[in-house]
Symmetry: C2
Subunit: 261 residues, 2 copies
């Protein structure tokens, strides 16, 4: 049994929320992995270094200078601060990126309409399951920055949600895996304006029903489609909800739990 | 048998020298660990961020802003670039700091005449030998940035020579360990102005003789004293020499090899 938890960038930016989340994370029983986003620190430091953030259709373009910034900030500053905190909480964290031990191999995204630059698309079937397993079996808790590598010497910026999903899928081959997306929202909502309208459970049937009734917020659909594809690839359950309620998310008493049946 | 290799900051700054060194490092047989300095990139990025480098008696003071810069640059940028390169060379590198997996516990240096700030003095006897051993036994090659942690949530800036020595000493308890300091000089010189005056072998007796004859360059004495203290703590041999000749250093045909007898 492994719990793979992704923590959203907005939490990373708020130190007291982050520390409180890390306390709950450290208390999660059994084998676990934390994948963190980068938050706004990379943009702030990029600005200070005079590196302009470029976006196309709301998506960040990672040029060479930006790649250096995210490598420093995600792989260095944010990652090591989280590790140092977890080490005070009885959690034997080891901070890594997808380049380390080749844990998340990727391809540089091919240029089509848009050149996203140094962005990695994970090579799904090539994650080294045995290396992941060995790190967990020797009692370590990987803390993963959202960076991969192309196997040709370059680091690649990579979506943290995707990394969490790919790691969960790979580990699903050898463990029962729960994949948790924790952020500042209480879960999947029936009414985006009502935080009390959380859908507690979703399975393929109820999801299709709600979708056909147009009761699922459009912005949530890609995340949910990803969640179901993770289930189909062998992940036991996917939970989406409030990072401040991690133990309740795991217990199923908060957030949205997505399962096969 | 483990080879612990420290690469000097001057090499880190020169990309073609670094790549050529990494090729030789990747080719070193058996278990190995690389400890890298930071080079001048941290100073350059600190300057760009408007963080003033402060020195007392030629030694850098690590205030909170500087600590963030070295955490980003050493732990992120430099470390992950080295890892991504080694991964292309058939070396399964994993980039870490002393905070990761608590691999190098330290104390913040006590304030005496000078407050060095967030600088770590390694807790020699507390390195987790079994964790180091487990990482090596599963076939990984640790690439270590010169950062430690205080176990209270703070990263600490730490001298890379010292880290290499402490790691070598800890592993000396369970392996035969060679500790190599590689930099841009050919070895310990009898005449600092003559690169052909390398002392090929030193043992405690010949070292004392040369020292009493004042044939050892004063600046080299602390490094050599450290080398002998590493031998006394269980390291099998210490080699000092040119990073461009790593295979010859290991073979004993270049540089200075320091041994018991």
């Amino acid at each position: 049994m492994v719990t793979v938890i992704k923590i959203g960038g907005n939490i990373i930016d708020k130190d007291s929320q982050l520390q409180s989340f890390l306390e709950s994370f450290a208390a999660v029983a059994g084998k676990k992995i934390l994948i963190h986003g980068g938050g706004k620190i990379a943009t702030r430091i990029g600005d200070q270094l005079g590196i302009e953030s470029k976006y196309v259709e709301g998506r960040r373009i990672t040029d060479a200078a930006t790649l250096d910034v995210v490598t420093m900030v995600y792989g260095g500053l944010v990652n090591k601060k989280i590790v140092a905190s977890l080490q005070t909480m009885g959690c034997n964290a080891i901070g890594i990126t997808g380049a380390d031990a080749n844990l998340v191999p990727a391809n540089k995204r091919p240029v089509k309409e848009v050149d996203f630059g140094f962005v990695g698309d994970v090579k799904s079937e090539q994650l080294p399951v045995s290396t992941w397993q060995q790190l967990l079996e020797i009692g370590l808790t990987p803390v993963v920055a959202p960076l991969t590598h192309d196997g040709k010497g370059s680091i690649l910026n990579t979506n943290a949600d995707t990394m969490a999903q790919e790691i969960a899928k790979a580990l699903g081959k050898v463990y029962s895996v729960s994949l948790i997306y924790s952020f500042e929202k209480p879960g999947v909502l029936l009414d985006v304006n009502d935080d009390n309208s959380v859908i507690n459970k979703l399975n393929p049937t109820s999801y299709q029903e709600l979708k056909s009734e147009q009761k699922i917020f459009a912005g949530m659909i890609p995340k949910l489609d990803n969640a179901f594809s993770a289930l189909n690839a062998g992940v036991t359950k996917v939970i989406i909800g409030d990072a401040a309620k991690l133990d309740q998310l795991i217990a199923g008493s908060s957030g949205t739990t997505i399962i096969h049946e």
